[in-house]
Subunit: 353 residues, 2 copies
């Protein structure tokens, strides 16, 4: 195995020189692409799409066929682990993910075990291997998982985007129970990411979508500590190549110094932080990934070019920046605006390298 | 007019010595109180409750009858201004506020004018005067408004809590139009707060509920600049007493230095920031208000006491702290837990004064 032909993404994560700033886009294989919607319709529902290595490979490659993106990301969901634990993941039309059997009783928590990724999550490993083969060493493949805390939110609430009143009640009244869940989750996430790496993932990202809903002290104890555990257990070298780890806590801008200190190679930024300020705070320690507001992709190519230029200028000269949005791309984004962004980043970033 | 008998809230905002840390609670007159629900049922709908000075006075006083809170806050809504502009505010059962006629066309924006608070918002001024009279100088009365940007979000989207895709499209593609709206809003908010002060409000607070959804640069230009304009135009002395101004941007933890620099007396904090770190960053310039996670009030008196103690200890010794939640109290909060919080703060804070 050697580095892919276009290794700018991996080099930027390791803060090695690159000819331009690499870019990929969170949720780049998604509903803003007509071809994705067609494949999804063929699959039936979202989880059938995730569970089919053929179809997951097909949609992973779709955005790369349209845009000269510098990385591919495994097509899957952040909630495959609790689904493999037997909680019954489903996606109702027009709603977010739901679990049929959220954790409600203490015995359910005591019974929780980390699923063997080679058994219950084999379909993800098959997809990784198949995508790597299809990519034919053109660009690197990113593997990923939800963070232990983010998984716990869904496992306890049964869904996302609430006020997290159940999770927080447990956190404050029965921290021992939440720690139990998080410990199982951290072991499950580590094993899952390592299986993805063994199946071909060349970098991995931990998505901490809901850690930002916590207080600073609770974040450190219940989210970041378990991400740190995962980071410490992830395989960092395979076939002589370093496997970079990216950690992204949405809403974590105040805590960047703490996130950068857990041993990851890169920190993802949402759009509320100025990337230049973030670089001044933690740029000597880690690479940065981000952070254009996804809403900007709803405007025009001219505006996108202007705003992308601002992010590049704010980061400034030198390596260590992977361009991305600050959150997933909106389903209402015109694909030609994504094309404009990718071109703008490649073209305008040359002067900084 | 003299200072109220219990002036600890005003003194803390001005960083003068107090015997204990004062406390009030965002949305303290609200649905977690049975007596509030009874009054609201009598009023019919939420806006009728706001529009009746008698009923607004009644619900403003309800939490003070239960708990030894150190301030009263005018019972009203942050969206009275756009309602007075003719956009048609309503509250459907179980949903947030909605406007029947959000701003959709350029001519509507050009036609927008700041309402005269003594005319279209007279009911708010009548409520202020009546509440002040009913308080009989026991504790101070807080007046408030939504921030110019937060009002604009509702005026453009027609509702809150979305991805703000319309607002952001305007912000990036037609910033001139958004600036027009914000300029009218800033003048409207200033006049509105000044009329509240003239009617008896002894401190005022600007709620910037949605500024935290912006990028750092967009926040500075489209939210903070207009809050600064408001702060500079608010009456700061009345009858020889200083009128403190509190600015609260939910999700604004990364930007505290900038917020503290606009001339306000105090900065509100949500629960994601450690208040001790916030004090180290801006505590020499302004007082701080906050910042217990409202979800903690769903637990038990013991947990509440422990967590309140942590916030007090993190702020540390000396004046300049007004205890509050980091956001409004949840409707599911048992009132006895609020009692436990108020008692804990009064009792445990003495050692720091």
């Amino acid at each position: 195995m050697s580095r892919p032909k276009n290794d700018s993404f991996l080099r930027a994560l390791l803060r090695e020189p690159t000819p331009h700033t690499p870019i990929w886009i969170m949720r780049q294989a998604g509903r803003y692409l007509a071809e994705y919607n067609q494949t999804r319709a063929r699959a039936g529902d979202f989880m059938s799409l995730c569970r089919s290595p053929d179809l997951a490979t097909e949609v992973t490659l779709q955005p790369l066929a349209r845009f000269p993106l510098d990385a591919a990301i495994l097509f899957s969901d952040i909630l495959t682990i609790p689904d493999a634990m037997g909680l019954g993941l489903s996606f109702a039309e027009g709603e977010g993910p739901r679990f049929e059997r959220p954790l409600r009783d203490e015995w359910e928590i005591n019974d929780l075990t980390a699923p063997d990724p080679w058994d219950h999550l084999r379909y993800v490993m098959d997809a990784c291997a198949q995508i790597r083969k299809a990519l034919d060493n053109s660009v690197p493949l990113i593997g990923f998982s939800g963070s232990p805390f983010t998984l716990a939110c869904y496992m306890i609430e049964g869904k996302g985007g609430t006020d997290f009143e159940r999770v927080k009640q447990m956190l404050y009244a029965r921290p021992d129970l939440l720690h139990k869940i998080l410990d199982v989750n951290a072991r499950a996430v580590s094993a899952y990411l390592n299986a993805q790496i063994e199946s071909g993932a060349q970098a991995v990202m931990v998505f901490d979508t809901w850690g930002g809903a916590l207080s600073e002290a609770a974040y450190a104890e219940f989210s970041l500590a378990y991400i740190e555990q995962v980071v410490s257990q992830v395989t960092r070298t395979r076939d002589g190549e370093r496997i970079p780890v990216i950690v992204f806590t949405k809403g974590g801008g105040v805590w960047l110094e703490k996130i950068a200190a857990i041993g990851c190679d890169a920190v993802g930024l949402d759009w509320t932080v100025d990337i230049g300020s973030a670089r001044a705070r933690i740029g000597k320690k880690v690479a940065l990934q981000g952070n254009l507001d996804p809403a900007i992709l709803l405007s025009s190519p001219e505006v996108i070019r202007r705003e992308a230029a601002k992010v590049l200028a704010s980061y400034g000269s030198g390596s260590g920046h992977v361009f991305n949005l600050g959150h997933g791309v909106s389903r209402f984004t015109p694909p030609e605006n994504v094309a404009a962004l990718v071109d703008a980043v490649h073209e305008l970033s040359r002067e900084y390298h």
